[in-house]
């Protein structure tokens, strides 16, 4: 496990050193290859993890599938590379993957210093704290002197440092590289607190030995807009990824689902006609087939469907839409017009 990770990291680094400067057309390379190589989490239930049959499942996984559906008309033309938090950006920079959909927070420094372009957010998250119920902690402000389990190399690590510094509280971080090892240490009582994005905490709690023993504190201490990312240098590919995510959101707003998309083709609403390519134009503008948005909705679904299928209230994560509801329902999911 450790060895393969190190090996992959080394290879990624080698690629960064060795690759000859390419023409800068990531899209061409992807088309030539015939599939998209997407970097995903691999260990977070609901976002990116293979199921018992080895089929990749999750919100981030489905986002990558939507991009494949847009480019190839076939959502299955995507291969997944599980990455740790520390490998993910190097893997994208070096060209080992074409697309990063691995609950990565968009920040100014990542966008500028890492040479990445983040696109439309596919999950608005925030960092929270999970504690044992029997400790009787009611608020994150009570955590002075606590031992906190945290993943390395994440915005989480910085946010926690900022939070404790800001509130003049002492803390003791325990930083372990793999999510699995980290949660094991937390469940065994090595730490009083586990901090991560609230969605991940829900995912980790879902696989706890006794999920009911743990509670997530009410404070959300950060903004974590989780977005897919591509590297600098190919604006067309960036646009396609951006609008693939937006298409899922727009489809939900227009009431188009994977079930009714074929009937919707007959709709008289020009917005829907434009969206599904009945009135041509959008596809050509992006350099794609006019059916690209239809393919996304038909094969992957709209944002609401993808959300409910992977992390919604009926799954073991049981997350409510919250910030991730459509703007029409008081959330932040808002798509620019498709015209």
């Amino acid at each position: 496990m450790k060895f393969t990770k190190t090996l992959m990291f080394t290879i990624a680094l080698c690629l960064l050193v060795c690759t000859v400067a390419q023409a800068g057309k990531d899209l061409d390379a992807v088309r030539k290859k015939g599939f998209i190589q997407a970097g995903v989490n691999g260990g977070v239930f609901g976002f990116g993890m293979p199921d018992a049959k080895g089929v990749w499942r999750g919100l981030d996984v489905d986002t990558a599938r939507a991009v494949a559906a847009a480019i190839f008309g076939d959502a299955s033309k995507v291969k997944f590379t599980p990455l740790t938090a520390q490998q993910r950006f190097t893997a994208l920079q070096s060209g080992e993957i074409d697309l990063l959909t691995r609950n990565a927070t968009r920040t100014l420094s990542r966008e500028t210093q890492l040479g990445l372009n983040f696109v439309q957010v596919n999950y608005y998250d925030g960092q929270g704290f999970m504690v044992l119920k029997k400790l009787g902690v009611k608020s994150a402000k009570d955590l002075d002197g606590a031992t906190v389990c945290v993943l390395p190399g994440t915005t989480t690590e910085q946010n926690a440092a900022d939070f404790f510094r800001n509130n003049k509280m002492k803390w003791n971080p325990v930083v372990i590289e793999s999510t699995t090892e980290l949660s094991k240490a937390f469940f065994a009582g090595r730490c009083d607190v586990l901090t991560s994005d609230a969605s991940q905490l829900a995912g980790i709690r879902a696989v706890a030995p006794n999920p009911d023993d743990y509670t997530i504190l009410p404070e959300i201490i950060s903004k974590e807009p989780l977005a897919p990312a591509v590297r600098h240098g190919d604006d067309q590919f960036r646009d396609i990824v951006d609008f693939s995510v937006l298409a899922m959101i727009n489809a939900e707003e227009l009431g188009i689902t994977s079930k009714n998309v074929d009937e919707m083709l007959k709709s008289k609403n020009p917005k829907i006609q434009r969206f599904l390519g009945v009135l041509p134009g959008n596809g050509k503008a992006l350099g794609l087939d006019e059916k690209w948005a239809y393919n996304i909705v038909k094969q992957v679904g709209n944002y609401g469907e993808v959300f409910e299928r992977n992390i919604g209230v009926k799954t073991s994560l049981g997350l409510k839409r919250g910030l991730n509801a459509l703007w029409t329902n008081g959330g932040l999911m808002y798509s620019p017009p498709f015209k």
Partner: protein
């Protein structure tokens, strides 16, 4: 040859073409090899630069002066999230040195004991030593680290139920927390006295040797020094008024405050590395001792030397020659293996650098620093051990 004599130069000496001249040919090959290596290096460097610039990834070491803004749980020097990356990395280097140094000392002691036990004539002792060696050598060290770490956090209770075997000592899944004496000038005075005693002991030992060479009378320098080293600091402490105030750990809130604590991460890493490496050291020590001919030992005993003297005067001086070179390589192994700390959450240099790489995105600089630091540690260990080896080597006459 620079200034040939007139008679020779007047002859039309057939100078061999340069490809036949071994000296010149060698020079040409050297230059070619150097040019190839240099060219390859330049190509890699410029290509990397170009690629990084194309992808607009920041380069250079400017990030070292920026605020690190992440916390490190264990540090030998004061550190907070407001300090720079440079300081965070220094904390990492010191943590690596700490675990390596303590690890090397303990490994050498434990390895020697087990190596000698392996040769014991007692059936049980030698079998136990042998099983220990086989077990430790044949399980991957990473697995051992996971095992010890799991033992630490699974087996020990939470802080509120901490084991308290003696007053001022607590054992829980946050580590080992123990009371330390409250700061007092007496303790630094004691340390100075101890240093002075050790220096005197060293001089006394030299004088004793010289006297023995001249007169044949031996002097028990070691015992005298040991006695003074125990007695004099104690007298100093008494002289300063025998302070007894202790800094006691107290459970407040989530954790113990006060006292000193050893974290489970550090303990697990140290334990794993020491047990694993000492198995190899034990075999090296055994080989070293067995390389001494039995006849020599018998001869020494026949001369009337006591067993301790046989070990000190006959066996060790010779077997150390055999032991030191492979021992050095085990020390280097231990240092390098300490980078597995990442897996169990001890913040060594690699762990800190990994976080730095992730936050700044400057992987090449980070990895280069890792290489330079480990190279520096390894080379200094080698230098020291080579110097020691030279001192220990038999002087050929």
């Amino acid at each position: 040859m620079d200034k040939p004599t007139a008679s020779l130069s007047s002859l039309p000496s057939p100078a061999p073409p340069f490809w036949r001249d071994a000296g010149k040919r060698a020079l040409v090959f050297q230059v070619l090899a150097l040019a190839t290596v240099g060219g390859l290096g330049y190509y890699l460097f410029s290509n990397t630069q170009a690629n990084l610039a194309r992808q607009s990834i920041a380069t250079g070491f400017d990030f070292l002066k920026k605020e690190a803004s992440f916390e490190i749980s264990e540090s030998l020097i004061p550190y907070s999230a407001a300090d720079t990356y440079a300081r965070a990395l220094l904390v990492g280097v010191l943590n690596t040195l700490k675990v390596s140094f303590i690890g090397i000392v303990l490994t050498t002691i434990l390895g020697t004991i087990i190596g000698i036990a392996r040769l014991s004539s007692n059936w049980l002792v030698s079998r136990l030593a042998r099983s220990f060696i086989e077990l430790m050598q044949n399980i991957p060290v990473l697995l051992q680290l996971f095992f010890w770490y799991a033992i630490f956090y699974e087996a020990f209770p939470a802080p509120r139920q901490a084991l308290n075997p003696i007053k001022g000592l607590f054992l829980c899944n946050r580590g080992l927390i123990f009371a330390v004496p409250e700061g007092h000038p007496a303790y630094s005075a004691m340390a100075w006295v101890l240093v002075a005693v050790l220096i005197c002991g060293w001089l006394l030992n030299r004088w004793g040797h010289r006297r023995q060479e001249l007169t044949g009378k031996s002097f028990p320098a070691f015992r005298v020094t040991l006695f003074a080293a125990l007695l004099l600091p104690f007298l100093t402490w008494f002289f300063y008024g025998a302070p007894t105030a202790m800094n006691m750990p107290v459970l407040r809130g989530f954790n113990f405050r006060g006292g000193l604590s050893v974290s489970p991460e550090f303990s697990a890493l140290l334990l794993g590395l020491v047990l694993y490496t000492s198995a190899f050291v034990a075999e090296i020590v055994r080989a070293g001792i067995q390389s001494i001919g039995r006849g020599q030992i018998e001869a020494a005993m026949a001369l009337g030397l006591r067993p301790g003297q046989v070990l000190q005067l006959v066996i060790l001086p010779q077997s150390l020659r055999v032991i030191i070179p492979p021992l050095t390589s085990q020390m280097l192994n231990l240092t390098k293996n300490s980078s597995l700390a990442v897996a169990i959450g001890y913040t060594d240099f690699v762990a800190v650098t990994n976080t730095t790489i992730n936050q700044t995105g400057q992987a090449i600089e980070g990895v280069a620093m890792i290489m330079v630091v480990y190279l520096a540690i390894s080379l200094s260990t080698s230098l020291f051990m080579n110097w020691y080896n030279k001192r220990m080597a038999l002087v050929e006459r």
